[in-house]
């Protein structure tokens, strides 16, 4: 479960953590991705596992468009830039939820039969549900990919440089908007991947994103802003803490443990575990 939180958080780690742009619509991105993979299954009978790359590609375009149409302008605000970002993306989240209700109705949907759904696999005597296992593997791969991408490619350096000093970056011929649009696209594509896998074993409804979004913020902040590895570690810690809390406290209180650990960590280390900002 921890790696799944990590998978949801990895896209956010890129947008929120590395680009320092607040995205309050992250949960809704997840929701859209889950619907996409649901409809690909319902109409074309494409298994979510196969459609995951398609969903990710569609989400890439969606993320880039959101950046170019909205976020670009929110970042340009001279006053209260932080609040403008928060409420622009919050407004976007409400619109997306409304649109989902309008077009998809508030009904709960699920993907009844898929290659992975409901199956378990036995590893050394421990039964693991297959979808979660695949989710965990994809999550590790996504993190490794993002880590290499950010630290080993020119684009990764451009991204970091753009956050540090957009003016100086412009002087050396990097188009800030292109870099950030690509970053948003990539962040959304990663959420798309998460959505496609989660569509297999979660109910899909217009408000589904909200329940995961807060945990994703906490995960990123716990690991520390500006660190891909931090978000990965954050995801694992969140998953472990949740599992332990569920043993000690009633299930409805399982998130309390996660929140308490976040507070404890930032009180001791105000920059999160591996944060650089």
């Amino acid at each position: 479960m921890g790696l799944l939180y990590g998978l949801i958080a990895v896209g956010l780690a890129l947008i929120f953590g590395l680009m320092d742009v607040t995205n309050f619509a992250h949960g809704e991105f997840l929701m859209i991705a889950m619907y996409l993979s649901f409809f690909l299954f319902a109409f074309f009978a494409i298994d979510p596992l196969l459609s995951a790359p398609l969903v990710a590609a569609a989400m890439f375009v969606f993320g880039a468009v959101v950046y170019l149409l909205l976020v670009r302008f929110a970042m340009r605000a001279k006053a209260n830039a932080g609040m403008v970002q928060i409420f622009t993306t919050f407004g976007l989240a409400i619109v997306m939820r409304g649109l989902a209700q309008y077009f998809f109705t508030p009904d709960y949907r699920s993907i009844p039969q898929s290659w992975l759904g409901g199956k378990t696999i036995s590893v050394a005597g421990i039964f693991l549900p297959e979808p979660q296992l695949v989710g965990a593997l994809v999550s590790i791969a996504a993190f490794a990919g993002l880590y290499l991408f950010v630290h080993r490619t020119d684009f990764g350096r451009a991204l970091e440089a753009t956050r540090e000093d957009p003016g100086a970056v412009a002087l050396v011929g990097i188009d800030k908007n292109r870099v950030f649009a690509f970053g948003w696209g990539l962040g959304a594509a990663l959420v798309g991947l998460a959505g496609a896998i989660m569509a297999v074993f979660f109910y899909i409804y217009p408000d589904v994103g909200a329940s995961f979004a807060l945990i994703a913020y906490v995960t990123v902040a716990l690991g520390g802003f500006g660190s891909v590895f931090g978000a990965f570690a954050g995801g694992i810690i969140v998953g472990l803490v949740e599992a332990v809390t569920a043993l000690v406290l009633p299930p409805s209180l399982k998130s309390v443990g996660i929140y308490a650990v976040y507070l404890l960590v930032v009180f001791i280390r105000p920059r999160g575990l591996f944060g650089s900002m």
Binding site: M83, F87, V95, Q101, P206, M277
Partner: protein, 327 residues
């Protein structure tokens, strides 16, 4: 202090008095209960947002967890009332004091945090409060508390037949929150807060005790919000954790101030006066279909206003006083 500033403050006070006077007369003309309901909610959100603005606007410590204090105000009042028969008036004060104490207790570790880390901590602490109340059997858990009907009286602050008493209380609360802000704006505290917001290091070096300033702002802000929570509980006569402590509430409290103009005297009132009627009207006229059209309109308006007017709606009024307004 320069004369222009003093003149502006005097003028603000006069405008506020006139507006409050006009508002007090409004029920003579408006008999429709539905419209009265909207007015009450508008005044309440204006008061809440004004209180939120003290900590987040003036002092610059963006809190998205004020639902915690709202819920504490509501729950303190109703628990004392239903379990011990304490009159809501005392419960209201108790709620305010408890909220202020909690705000300062939380401020002790919280105010060391900066930026996103602080904002997320405020969200998280409110969420913990929500989960605890949802699981607290004695306090009604997720079912909440229904306030028993004991007949209309000012003593018990309960009115079934008419909404007018609630209207007047909301008006007083809103005026109080405005007046406190107005008064603090020109006090030692007000100047400290703005200094802390603009540049904490410089403020500290000039002798402002940054930490204490933040604590003061948090306590005042939490106290007023909790009073608002107590009012809301009496007004609805029913509370449950999600409806008084949910994350949505923290955002709804911040929204009028942000859209109206964060860190300004008139921003919250202006924002609430436009946003709340708009929310209620879209909900009742196009929300009935249950298909979320109201959400689409509402969300789109929030996006449009925050993008078009990053300084908030007050910036539309500040052509001439643009210089004065930024101080």
């Amino acid at each position: 202090m320069d004369k222009a500033f003093a003149a502006r403050r005097r003028r603000d006070l006069i405008i506020a008095a006139v507006l409050a006077g006009l508002a007090a007369l409004a029920p003579l003309l408006i008999k429709d209960v539905y419209v009265q309901n909207i007015l009450i909610l508008t005044l309440m959100y204006a008061a809440l947002s004004q209180s939120w603005n003290i900590l987040s606007g003036y002092c610059g410590q963006i809190s998205l967890g004020h639902a915690l204090y709202f819920g504490i105000g509501a729950y303190t009042t109703e628990l004392l009332f239903t379990k011990f028969g304490v009159l809501p008036w005392f419960g209201m004060l108790a709620g305010g004091v408890i909220a202020a104490i909690i705000a300062m207790g939380l401020g002790y570790p919280f105010f060391r945090l900066r930026g996103h880390y602080f904002v997320i901590a405020t969200i998280v602490i409110a969420e913990i409060g929500l989960l605890l109340f949802q699981n607290w059997e004695w306090a009604g858990a997720a079912m909440g508390i229904t306030v028993p009907v004991r007949g209309d009286s000012w003593l018990k602050f309960q009115f079934m037949r008419s909404k007018l008493p609630y209207f007047y209380f909301a008006l007083v609360l809103c005026s109080l929150a405005w007046f406190v802000t107005w008064w603090l704006e020109d006090s030692k505290w007000g100047f400290w807060w703005r200094a802390v917001k603009d540049n904490p290091e410089a403020a500290e070096s000039l002798g402002v005790v940054v930490f204490n300033s933040k604590m003061g702002a948090a306590a005042v802000s939490a106290f007023l919000v909790a009073i608002g929570g107590a009012f809301y509980a009496q007004f609805l006569a029913y509370i449950d954790p999600e409806s008084v402590m949910g994350f949505q509430f923290s955002l709804l409290m911040a929204l009028p101030a942000v859209l109206g103009g964060i860190g300004t005297l008139w921003g919250p009132v202006l924002g609430a006066a436009i946003l709340i009627p708009m929310t209620e009207l879209t909900r009742s006229y196009i929300g009935g279909s249950g298909r979320g059209v109201d959400l689409i309109v509402y969300g789109a308006l929030i996006v449009a206003i925050s993008l078009a007017l990053p300084r908030g709606l007050v910036s539309l009024f500040s052509r001439s006083k643009a210089k004065g307004a930024t101080r």
